[in-house]
Symmetry: C2
Subunit: 335 residues, 2 copies
DNA sequence: AAAATGTATGTAAACGTTTACGGAACTTTT
DNA sequence: AAAAGTTCCGTAAACGTTTACATACATTTT
């Protein structure tokens, strides 16, 4: 028997839908005998209420939309876990979507989430997104928005981010202290603010140590390993190759590691390497990867907390929040 | 201005909702002038149709539900990617949920998916699930079901799985051929059929080579790295430790690798190690991990294809499909 | 001039659920 | 015996959208 509705049950028992509804909700004003009959039949027919009907009727769906660039990235999947856990605890569902860093997909996803009438949206903006209309219209629609990790100042929404400048600074500082002289940086897509900040922090560390960053030691790549691998090969094949690299993320550092191995460069003897993120595989690499840690799980939790607080606040003008996580240096053996 | 409906637009333009609906759908029988007015206003107010209303009205939602044990596992996130891509191409959406291997969560998720009136469900069953009522009732409800990677014979649904017996056999065979004598196996949760099959294949390989599996060389663990790490420590601390380990998955192999490093055992000199899955990080480990590959992305694609074919088939008695992927030995340096 | 056709729009029902309101049939109070 | 209070259930509207059907007016055909 295909899916049944409250109407079907009502018809079968010769009672009204209102009574069925009340029985299912265990309301006070329904005869125990009737209640039992309803519950039994509902159980037998595997009745499950239609979330569409309820979503239509009530103004709230108790669902939040979550948009990440890609799901097969431990950093984001840990954020998802943190966010989901807090959301579930408060009785909210999470709809997960990935933009694949494609602008058109991101727009489409937002449209869908609006159509699904989610109570709020959490997003880490894709690297190709340059136009923010699709996000700023959420303000007019009164849908709370929280941006995590990849936020943008032109967008009206909460921000849960890292102090990327400081992280970059710490990375540079540590490489300098370890005595390296030819320090390079593989940066991310320049469209991302996070990329620019890590780079600026890194540059500041060099400046404070009266060191200079050679132009050829600053290169850009995407967060995909294949790209960073090629970039690293190029960088390490320079006439005067660097003796240290600060990679904008651990995934990029993995590409560097691969390139170094292919070029028979020993890490850390010939090349010091420091990443950013603190992926779970870091300690298992050879050598274990020195990195700047981001608290992904906690960022997910905090994102959910702020978003839900906004959603549940009766205050129309709920203030925008900014939460900045402090990155920590995680010393292992790659420097 | 908060979210508007077709009714709001109709009221503002002093026309009927039917006309607005027709205009938005670019139907033939609406005056160009009216059409223009509607489209303009809809655009200005950021109108997006309510998926709840449409889901209620139409019988189809063009959505499939996807349930994985955990999302922060590259194997599953690649499956998600494969499945999503095929689904998107055919105009379907995917709702992703994780059960965390917790039975109660799995049941709740299925209830939700039924409530959301998804057109079909794809699931990789959680390791703690012993009762399959929640899955078998989908047959009565006429909701197509596809199980990938972790399937169960008691459940009515399509299966997209690996030839786990053969994979186990290949792993055992390769370790034997490489000259190892004290070969151990770290198996997964014994509730999973996949675990039992890999183990049986492995045992068959030993048997065929007239080798014996010592009871203390067969241990069980979960797929989480922390557990496998401890299990490996115990195993490698036996009075007569194994000189080779077949780990039920790459994640488990990572735990073994960590344990070996802590015990100053060189891989592969003191200990040969072979995993299962072929995670992307495998080649980057030291040593690069030898493993049995599973075509995760392709499994995701195939799952979507079979499920969608079932969904779109007018045939009520669409035959159950079983697709078995052949595992391949991937030789690197850990053996 | 009547009939037929075409064009543009409106009416109303349907999807599944909740809930305010009303009312019938009892039971208790005076 | 009338009034008041309980207990249980039904009616109907609402949520947003689509669509079959009806309708009004204008235009063309006989």
């Amino acid at each position: 028997m295909p899916q049944v509705s409250i109407k079907d049950i009502a018809r079968m028992l010769n009672i009204s839908v209102a009574t069925v509804s009340r029985a299912l909700h265990d309301r006070y004003d329904v005869k125990p005998e009737t209640k039992l009959k309803v519950l039994e039949l509902a159980e037998r027919l595997n009745y499950r209420p239609s979330s569409h009907a309820i979503g239509l009727l009530k103004k709230r769906t108790h669902t939040i939309g979550l948009v990440v660039p890609e799901i097969d990235n431990q950093f984001f999947s840990e954020i998802i876990n943190g966010l989901e856990n807090v959301a579930y605890q408060q009785g909210y569902n999470v709809m997960i979507f990935q933009s694949q860093n494609i602008y058109e997909r991101e727009v489409k996803i937002i449209d869908q989430l609006i159509g699904a009438r989610v109570d709020g949206i959490a997003i880490s903006i894709g690297s190709s997104t340059q136009d923010f209309k699709h996000l700023n219209m959420l303000k007019d629609l009164e849908i709370p928005l929280a941006m995590f990790d990849r936020a943008n100042d032109q967008v009206y929404g909460h921000k849960i981010i890292n102090d990327n400048f400081e992280g970059g600074y710490k990375a540079g500082e540590f490489l300098i202290k370890s005595g390296r002289k030819r320090i390079a940086h593989i940066a991310g897509p320049s469209t991302l603010k996070l990329t620019r900040l890590r780079m600026q922090g890194f540059k500041a560390a060099l400046r404070d140590a009266q060191m200079e960053l050679r132009p050829e030691y600053l290169v850009h790549t995407t967060f995909r390993m294949e790209d960073s691998h090629q970039t690293a090969l190029d960088l390490l094949s320079l006439p005067e190759p660097p003796d240290a690299i600060f990679a904008v993320s651990d995934y990029v550092a993995l590409g560097v590691l691969k390139a170094a191995r292919e070029l028979h460069l020993h890490v850390p003897n010939n090349l010091a390497l420091i990443g950013f993120t603190n992926l779970a595989v870091g300690p298992l690499l050879e050598p274990p990867l020195t990195t700047i840690s981001q608290q992904s799980y906690e960022m997910g939790e905090e994102t959910a907390r702020i978003l839900l607080e906004n959603i549940e606040s009766p205050d129309k003008d709920f203030k925008l929040q900014t939460r900045i996580f402090k990155p920590e240096l995680v010393v292992r053996n790659s420097v």
